[in-house]
């Protein structure tokens, strides 16, 4: 695909939507919905300066650490839980229990146990974002093709080798689906974690803007989140293209690209 075509796909719909938004806000705007121009102007003013260093970068660091931990933990636990049936029976209800508890309620508990610091925020990110990776890994591991499984067994491929050569690759398409989900949820949790015991950070700033009715500024913060989301997704897609080359090849070639 040519670069131009790719850019067209990438920017086509967003541009269309912005034009629609612009047209809709043309005839007088609501206080809570700024015009595209106003937003663009604010965006630059708000995020180009000092905020970039004091709010944006620390948040991104925490997000990064949180996401890496999320993915490593999610895949690790997912493999364990997915391949050991009694462990699955043992842990499933309790995991489901934690999954259903809203982070805003869970956060005070973390504050109690860990304190008001970066570790707490990272833990909040992990506690919310781990589920898609975990669940998808569990399901992916459970669904390994029987014939492949038999093949590995007869060639004496056990333990770590089995993990490396069979389970992980076989589950990787589903794991990647989970990872992609977790990235954006991690971003959301980053915002939520900064709503408590915080005085800086991207999420904190957005919420502060919202509370002080700095509406265009708030939307600009949301736009930053969206852009980070796209960036994360592009990165994960890049990794996916490497890791799942065989998978996409298999699907595409047979589908006759």
């Amino acid at each position: 695909m040519s670069l131009l075509k790719r850019a067209g796909y990438f920017f086509g719909l967003p541009v269309l939507l912005i034009i629609m938004w612009w047209a809709l806000t043309l005839g007088g705007t609501n206080f809570f919905v700024p015009t595209p121009e106003a937003l663009a102007k604010t965006f630059w003013e708000v995020w180009a300066g000092e905020r970039f260093v004091t709010d944006f970068l620390p948040s991104i660091m925490r997000l990064f650490v949180g996401l890496v931990a999320t993915i490593v933990l999610g895949i690790g636990l997912g493999i364990l839980i997915g391949s050991i049936r009694w462990l699955r029976s043992l842990t499933e209800p309790i995991l489901e229990f934690f999954r259903a508890i809203p982070p805003p309620v869970l956060v005070p508990l973390f504050m109690l146990l860990i304190g008001i610091n970066d570790q707490m925020k990272i833990l909040v990110i992990i506690s919310g974002a781990i589920w898609p990776v975990l669940l998808n890994t569990v399901e992916g591991v459970r669904a390994v093709d029987e014939v492949l499984n038999d093949t590995s067994r007869t060639y004496g491929i056990h333990g770590f080798s089995r993990l490396r050569y069979l389970v992980l690759p076989a589950a990787s398409p589903q794991i990647m689906a989970g990872v992609r989900q977790s990235l954006s949820i991690g971003l959301i949790l980053m915002v939520i974690s900064e709503m408590f015991g915080s005085s800086s950070g991207l999420g904190f700033t957005i919420v502060l803007f919202q509370r002080t009715f700095a509406i265009p500024e708030m939307w600009s913060g949301i736009a930053v989140l969206g852009l980070i989301g796209i960036a994360l997704s592009l990165i994960s897609k890049g990794i996916e293209r490497k890791v799942l080359r065989w998978y996409h090849g298999l699907k595409e070639v047979q589908r006759d690209s």
């Binding site: 049936r85 029976s89 209800p93 489901e96 229990f97 669904a143 919202q210 980070i228 047979q254």
Partner: protein
């Protein structure tokens, strides 16, 4: 024959028993942490105390009303977002043009926290259930959508070619080939989304509409009724567990042919 049979029966019994053991273990750890003073009991009351409050709640009609209100918002929100995500996911997933054209927009919208949309929701729908529905739907929609998109991508080309060669049109293929392939992914998406929807239902009750479990939690928080608050959180978690049990049940019924379920039964 008898040996395999009894083994299978054992496992059937062992599953729930183990799950219960897991929960008991967790309660025990909680109790110890609180009793041993690792955390101040005023901030984290021991499990036993919370359980007493919890069971006390179970005989209050008001509790069930709150649960009912929360579950209503949850069910409506989840239903709408699932149906929308499945339909849109199947459409987008089956067309490479649409997948490419919507990619950037989807990735932009996905990480926007529902919490940040509260002013917009209130503005659009007022302080009513529709606002919290909007938040629930917004948050859980993406969970399902992404899973459906991956599921569609996972359709076996040989199976799809077979369907094509027998003249199955796009709709029939969606129904007979794509849908069953997507189903395992969808089930995962559904399980993710149902928890997210529950979380958002409660969060929305905390912040916008003052009803349901979330409001009760907020009330006990602002009133300093700590063990009441933890009892409500416990209830929330248990609802999550129950929802998951239901999902598992549906999954076992609908995916009996899938290798993940098959391996549980046979081997």
């Amino acid at each position: 024959m008898s040996s395999t049979n009894s083994r299978m029966r054992n496992q059937r019994v062992a599953g729930p028993a183990l799950g219960l053991a897991g929960i008991l273990l967790f309660l025990l750890v909680w109790e110890v942490v609180a009793r041993a003073g690792i955390v101040d009991q005023r901030f984290l009351p021991p499990a036993s105390e919370v359980l007493v409050t919890f069971f006390g709640n179970l005989i209050e009609p008001g509790f069930y009303q709150a649960v009912g209100e929360t579950m209503l918002a949850w069910a409506i929100g989840l239903a709408i977002s699932t149906v929308a995500a499945v339909v849109i996911g199947l459409i987008i997933g089956s067309s490479s043009f649409l997948s490419k054209a919507t990619y950037s927009t989807i990735e932009f919208l996905r990480p926007i926290p529902s919490v940040a949309l509260i002013p917009l929701a209130v503005l659009l729908f007022g302080v009513r259930i529709e606002s919290s529905l909007m938040l629930i739907i917004y948050a859980s929609f993406w969970q399902v959508l992404l899973q459906v998109l991956y599921g569609v991508a996972d359709v076996d080309p040989v199976a799809e070619n077979t369907a094509k060669s027998y003249g199955l049109g796009p709709l029939a293929r969606a129904r007979y080939v794509i849908w069953p392939t997507v189903l395992p992914y969808l089930m995962t998406g559904l399980r993710l989304a149902s928890a997210v929807a529950l979380i958002l239902a409660i969060t929305a009750e905390l912040i916008i509409v003052s009803r349901g479990l979330g409001y009760q939690i907020a009330l006990s928080q602002s009133g300093g009724a700590i063990s009441e608050m933890y009892a409500l959180v416990l209830a929330t978690g248990l609802i999550g567990v129950i929802i998951n049990l239901a999902m598992r049940f549906i999954e076992r019924k609908t995916l009996s042919w899938h290798s993940s379920i098959r391996s549980e039964v046979v081997a």
